[in-house]
Subunit: 210 residues, 2 copies
């Protein structure tokens, strides 16, 4: 595995390819070309080949890629060959929905704990997971080494939760609050800002009228 710097856009696409391949594989297809993958996910075939080339030579010239093999390679590249533990802070509407989101389990992410600061929520259950007080975050993080943290609390509380996560040793954070969070350089953080996405649609709708 080359240490070359990989564009983030490539990683996003690899994740999309892998899900597309899972689907194709389920249909029993053995071999697939870069062009077919490209059609399936809406990119160019050159893009598919370039993306894969960062990580090795997975195909056969004149033939294409073996679906099962390529899928395996992608899952390995993405680090999805073993299960990841996930800790969610915030058991509001969004946090609850994320806790029970089947899409995570399908891809090997297991929610091991949900925490909230609201005393009325503590002790309630989401599926089989009991909501814990946020004061127990450090303890829970320690018990689940290298877990991924998800922040699903209101904007005002999000930075504080991030700080606590970092202190508890969490190295990767997915932030659903509409705030840009400050974290040390060695922490991997991604923001999923739901209204930003609507606002981009709003921008393009507006632009059409001009």
């Amino acid at each position: 595995m080359k240490a070359l710097k990989i564009p983030e856009a490539t990683i996003i696409r690899l994740s999309v390819y892998s899900r597309f391949l899972a689907q194709v594989k389920r249909r029993g297809v053995i071999t697939i070309s870069s062009g077919e993958i490209a059609n399936g996910v809406g990119v160019s075939s050159a893009q598919v080949r370039k993306d894969l080339a960062y990580f090795g030579e997975f195909g056969t010239r004149g033939v294409g890629y073996n679906v099962g093999e390529l899928y395996g390679h992608l899952m390995k590249i993405l680090g999805l060959t073993s299960q990841w533990q996930v800790i969610i802070v915030g058991a509001g509407k969004l946090g609850s929905a994320l806790t029970m989101y089947a899409g995570f389990a399908e891809r090997g992410f297991k929610v091991v704990a949900v925490l909230d600061s609201d005393p009325r929520k503590i002790g309630q259950k989401l599926d089989s997971i009991e909501i814990l007080p946020v004061s127990r975050l450090a303890e829970v993080a320690a018990a689940n080494q290298s877990a991924i943290g998800i922040i699903a609390v209101p904007a005002e509380e999000s930075q504080e939760v991030a700080n606590t996560m970092v202190q508890a040793g969490i190295k990767a954070i997915l932030n659903f609050s509409p705030r840009v969070l400050m974290v040390p350089e060695d922490i991997v953080i991604r923001n999923v800002d739901l209204s930003v996405n609507l606002e981009i649609l709003s921008f393009y709708l507006g632009a059409q009228k001009r």
Copy 2:
């Protein structure tokens, strides 16, 4: 307003700037420099100035930007000066959470209808919004001209829902299902793939160990 092609990354940042400015404005700050904005949202000051320059000259050399004015400009650029209507298809965990998500209302997005295909859900209420059968989508879309559609159904059903939305005249779609959807060129579509985001974290966590 110039017709120059604007990078999508710029639009995303404008949305982030606007929310940061709303926060600063609430604190009563009158004037702000590109450097202060940059610090607040984690980009370079040159980036902030370049982004704004696509749309005009909003600042005063030697002084900075008037917070209220700049905020107003950004909201106008993003098309957020009037309310957008939003139609959500899928009243599962995620659809329900999105329907009641306060962040949308704060930014002028109003959920006017929620639809589902499950007969057991029809007639139930989310906040004050009654869940309608998905068969009424065309009718609801017609009654809410230029509404934005949100897809929050399982992967297998998402393409069908997208087709129906397009036929019903919806021009912008936010897709939460983990599938790449095929839509006509004139439709604006964005994907928010929740597990892709976790998988990117997984990739970077894995890379650290190498």
